[in-house]
Amino acid sequence: MSAYKVTQEEVLAVSGVDPKKCMRCGKCSATCPAYDEMEYHPHEFVAMVEKGEIEKLAQSKSLYLCMTCMACIQRCPRQVEPAKLVEAVRAAVIRGKGATHLKPDALPDMLDPDLPQQAIVSAMRKYTR
Amino acid sequence: MPVTAANKEGWKPKIIAFCCNWCSYSGADLAGTNRLSYPAEVKIIRVPCSCRVNPLFILRAFQRGADGVILCGCHPGDCHYSTGNYHTRRRMTLLFSLLDYLGVEKERTRVEWVSAAEGQRFVDVMNSFVAEVTALGENRRLGDLRCKEN
């Protein structure tokens, strides 16, 4: 399944986002708490999906840095909802490649006694099939 | 091209739209100016105010073979004549329920408010109205067979 290519149509359909509504203001990237760690930033997700450059996004670790805080969704003046694009690319990669970003085997090393279950289920939902 | 069977492939309804001169007719003009398209089945009749539309006109339209009739006026509170559209709203509520009782489905009649600035809204309204009437097919009630050309 490694030949699987995530297409623009799939991302647009799955996200329900219309990137053409974006006016390039940069509010999403101004508000993003994970900005510094990301390779591609929220406003680039919007622009690149619109342009059809999905493959670069699909390869990027930025997919796994979005914390679904929904700040960009809340504050976007054009109601574009960039986080939904991040999610759609991530979902497409994980479904298509059959791969998981997070291996259940690796989990025990990540846990500490206080870590709430919520963190684990959230990460499993986000990162695995 | 007369079509007798409803829902026939390519069948197109006959739709009469009464538009008030000040808001909706201008809204329809604006749709044209912006090149927004809606089905050609919609034929507009200009009236000074939606309250000029006598229930007889609507009955006449159905008698003569219309499949749907829509009235468009200014938004409540914005009537050029202050209160005309309130009369329309009350009259048509009565008329439409009477028509429904007579078997002319509620979807075939409508009152909508479209302002002079709402070209897009005019188009959206017409698209949805035409779609609804098309789905219902030909109107068989009230039609006067003598009015059919063949």
């Binding site: 914390m67 709430p116 959230s122 | -």
Partner: protein
Amino acid sequence: MLGESERRPMSTIYSYFPGCTLKNKARELDAQARGCARLLGIELEEIPEWQCCGGVYPLTTDEIAFRLSSVRALAEAARRGQKLVTVCSACHNVIKQVDHDMKAGAAIAEKANNYLAAEGVAYHGETQVIHYLELLRDEVGFDELKRRVVKPLAGQKVGAYYGCLLLRPSHVMAMDSAENPTIIENLLATLGADPVVYAQRNECCGGYLTLEDKSVPAKRARAILENARAQGAQTVVTACPLCFYNLKKQEEGTGVQVKYFTELLAEALGLDAKEGE
């Protein structure tokens, strides 16, 4: 809301969705919430055989399976004719957004109901989902709550930490203004504390990223606590176990204590520690 209060005698029983974390690492949150509810004459009936909400709302439009556990809980509450109360911010966010999907997203609602038809479940948005904070504000009423306070938290300077999930997206959550919320501040004032407003109260704590990478949550949590401290807060309260965890990790050296809001509520209402268990 007069209409709501008139019906109160009928609806003092609520369906309750605790969520997985409240049954495990955040037991005190569950216990305090139930205990305080009991003191206020409210019965929280735990939904039988509830399933984990999944922790985070699926932002994609075609994930149906991830939404089903929420729909089951919503349908159960609907069957009982009760409002559905949650305490954990994450559960609340997921269930409230799924409820919105079932009301507004025709395609999602149809597919979800198709799945659940085999179980004899059907849901069309009948249930009202409220957070425990809304229960206090809208059902009990802060005026009534104030009368029940036995030990006012006088002199305590407390900052509310909303995080993301209670508020966003605000047109769905409909609890409070996304940028200028007041519900926790008003609760704190009701309990006799001095609420401290600070800007970072609705910025992300780093969330589940903490599993893979501790650096981002550490940075975020420090910024939040330092801002709270600088604006004068001694304590910061949250409704979310994950926020609690991320903030707690950075508590040291900031001079701010991190607590669940229910801890202060329990204290003010005089809930015996044992009673809470």
